[in-house]
């Protein structure tokens, strides 16, 4: 059992939770994720790690209500217990292999889509602290889905915000800002909805900019055991949970990955309807 020690509502649909999980807090690295099982009958839900504090023994997760399970998690309060929190899972970001002193000579562009700002934060912070030049773009459909603006400012040199409807920051999609910023970076990292990562990759290709994406596929165990998360990367089948979650964007078959995400769409819709949840897509 994992105690919730903090809760903050970031937007009408997005919550930040601080959870006691001392082993994960000690071992988590940028790029990794965890799995939460909220209740005894609950699903195993893969979630990104937004922050971790080894001394306090806590991790922070950011969750957007998108179905029955995420709704269960977001309805829990400080003092409640999550049944299970397992992790950290997946491989740490590639830049964790670069000697720390060398990072200060590097330039990174992060592209965060909506709740994707949460996993971008620890990566940007790590690189920013190491002295790298870090720029961050956060994009979302509207202002209600833009999160972590203030914290992100502390983790980068320049923060750019855009919304589809222009309700905050610039009106338009992230690729517009990517094009404007051009190829002034050693590496781009895009994390967000699959469709956003697909277009960010197409833009990066156009700019001849290397890009890493973090895939949020379906998963059950998250330890390499089930293969629900398999994706085609450079024509080879990979497991997002143990071979990823981060891959070279150029190599990912996004259309297949998006199609595979819809496998349980019908059951999800039925479950949402039964729980009285409604989502605009």
């Amino acid at each position: 059992m994992f105690k919730i020690t903090g809760k903050k509502q970031l937007t009408p649909l997005i919550y930040s939770l601080e959870v006691e999980a001392s082993r994960i807090a000690k071992s988590a690295k940028p790029g990794q994720f965890l799995i939460v099982r909220p209740t005894e009958n609950g699903e195993r839900v893969p979630l990104t790690i937004c922050d971790y504090d080894a001394e306090k023994g806590t991790v922070r997760i950011v969750v957007q209500i998108a179905g029955v399970s995420s709704n269960k998690i977001c309805k829990m309060n400080v003092g409640d217990f999550l049944c299970d929190v397992a992790g950290p899972l997946g491989k740490p970001s590639e830049f964790m292999d670069i000697p720390y002193e060398e990072l200060k000579n590097r330039r990174y562009l992060f592209v965060a889509g909506g709740v994707g700002a949460a996993p971008v934060y620890p990566q940007a912070m790590y690189l920013h602290k190491a002295g790298a030049h870090v720029d961050v773009i956060i994009g979302a459909r509207n202002k209600d889905l833009i999160i972590m603006e203030d914290e992100m400012k502390q983790a980068c040199s320049n923060l750019y915000i855009c919304t589809d409807d222009g309700s905050k920051g610039e009106k338009g999609v992230v690729t517009l800002l990517m094009e404007r910023l051009g190829n002034n970076y050693d590496m781009c990292v895009a994390i967000g909805p699959m469709i956003m990562m697909k277009f960010a990759t197409l833009t990066a290709k156009k700019l001849n900019l290397p890009i890493t994406v973090s895939l949020n596929t379906l998963m059950v165990d998250g330890t390499g055991m089930c293969g629900a998360c398999r994706v085609s990367v450079a024509g080879k089948t990979m497991f997002a949970c143990v071979d990823g979650p981060e891959f070279n964007g150029y190599d990912v078959d996004f259309d297949e990955a998006m199609r595979r995400q819809t496998l349980y769409r019908k059951q999800e819709q039925e479950a949402n309807a039964a729980a009285g949840l409604e989502f605009k897509r």
Binding site: K72, A86, V220, G224, M225, S232
Partner: protein, 460 residues
């Protein structure tokens, strides 16, 4: 003198009824039936059954106690060598082990040793019997067990009996490994059997920490250097599913048997109380011929699908236990033998619509001694299906080896051991992670061997 009667049949749920539920197929013997079956044992002076048992249970002795109606003593006898008898009585391949070597089997039917073991274990559990514990003779040093599957549980049990302070680390949220996520409820009930046997271990003082993925959450070096574990047993199994490597295997509707079974067993997707979905297929094709293929097929059948098993050799070569094949047929599973899939066919939206297969014929024996299947040219045909479950085996997750410096592996990622000792001092291993995918009882046997080796190592 042994009673020269036919083997006492075991009562089972009617095939038509059980095809629609997840209740246990086999009811097992009652006391009367067990005593009658026990009367068939010849009580051999040199019992071949004991030699054939990977954990060396004193079979004639416990059967004699059953015959005398002293079920409690019989449980004591079994418990000396096995910590999970209710499980082994259900899932061991007895026909190739104890029962396969029973002298009665030469001319007739062997003693039903598995069913007798199961009876004794079930009786003891229902009576609330606990295994006699502990001839504590050790220092109580801390030992870590990585993985709570059969190898880890058996190793932990023996070490606890020797007085060690044992902690099992499990990556999933529930202990049991394949007993929990893999083998279905109708063959091995979870609450009534698996959880109870694991509870017995907890009652012995063994600790189980779930949600710890060793290699990521904590490393073996951390456990030894920072957490004071004097020895580690690695029993992480062979968990990574193999896929076919044919076109279309990432279409929507293609699953590993691991995924399909995990959703249904560990996550209880068949229950309406569970939040975890499972794919509701009309027609399911299962590729493979082992126990896992039978389990997946029979699970799909119970979830309402019409099921066909596709296997590339003939019935004789099916690696599954004869009992499982028999049960599957009784329940109405179709078999397409000497058949191999060559392509998964998809509709315009990328969902499975069928499996293209080719007929096979048996050629020369290969290195395993089985005749190897050869495709019959031009014999392709399509099977209509909206789901394909792949049950072709598993390979080893390299995480432990990759995160533990100095741990030697072979080409296939298996840990290299000498008498269960790995290349790292104080680190032992057994079960599928050493042998490659095998059976519950072999893994238990290896776990027990490792416990002995760890004891030798720790007492110096």
């Amino acid at each position: 003198m042994a009673n020269k009667i036919d083997r006492v049949p075991v009562r089972e749920q009617d095939p038509k009824v059980r095809a629609t539920n997840f209740e246990e197929v086999c009811y097992g013997y009652n006391a009367q039936e067990a005593q009658l079956e026990a009367s068939r044992c010849l009580g051999c002076k040199k019992p071949r059954c004991v030699d054939a048992c990977p954990v060396g249970i004193k079979i004639p002795a416990f059967i004699h106690q059953v015959l005398e109606g002293d079920f409690r003593a019989a449980f004591g006898t079994i418990s000396e060598d096995s910590s999970l008898p209710a499980i082994c009585g259900r899932v061991c391949p007895q026909e190739t082990q104890c029962e396969g070597s029973c002298i009665l089997g030469v001319k007739g039917q062997p003693v039903s040793i598995g069913k007798l073991e199961r009876f004794v274990a079930d009786y003891a559990r229902e009576q609330g019997e606990k295994a006699e514990d502990c001839h504590k003779q050790s220092s109580g040093a801390k030992v870590a067990i990585v993985g709570s599957g059969p190898a880890g549980l058996a190793c932990a049990s023996d070490l606890a009996k020797l007085g060690y302070d044992v902690t099992i680390f499990e990556s999933l949220h529930k202990a049991g490994g394949v007993l929990t996520y893999g083998i279905p409820e109708f063959r091995l009930p979870k609450k009534a059997v698996v959880e109870k046997e694991i509870q017995n271990l907890l009652d012995m003082g063994i600790k189980i920490e779930t949600d710890v993925f060793v290699g990521r959450t904590v490393t073996i070096d951390d456990l030894m250097d920072k957490e004071g574990f004097k020895a580690v047993f690695v029993g992480t199994g062979a968990g990574l599913p193999l896929f076919l490597g044919i076109p279309g295997e990432n279409l929507n509707g293609v699953f590993s048997a691991n995924e399909y079974l995990t959703r249904n067993n560990l996550m209880q997707a068949f229950s309406k109380d569970s939040d975890t979905p499972i794919f509701q297929a009309r027609k399911v094709c299962v590729v493979g011929g082992g126990n896992v293929a039978m389990d997946a097929a029979r699970t799909a059948l119970r979830l309402g699908s019409e099921v066909t098993i596709v296997y590339r050799r003939s019935e004789k070569e099916l690696p599954a236990r004869a009992e499982e094949v028999h049960h599957a047929k009784e329940e109405g599973i179709n078999f397409q033998l000497l058949t191999n899939p060559v392509e998964v066919l998809g509709d315009e939206n990328g969902w499975v619509r069928g499996i293209r297969c080719i007929r096979m014929e048996l050629g020369e024996p290969d290195e395993s001694g089985r005749r190897s299947p050869v495709p019959v040219e031009g014999s392709e045909f399509d099977i209509e299906a909206d789901a394909l479950i792949v049950a072709l085996g598993t390979k080893i997750n390299r995480l432990i080896a990759d995160t533990t410096p100095g741990l030697e592996t072979d080409r296939k990622g298996r840990l290299v051991t000498t008498e269960t000792a790995t290349s790292r001092k104080g680190v032992f291993a057994g079960g599928d992670v050493v042998t490659g995918a095998a059976t519950v009882i072999l893994a238990m046997g290896e776990g027990r061997k490792a416990a002995k080796a760890i004891h030798e190592y720790l007492k110096g």
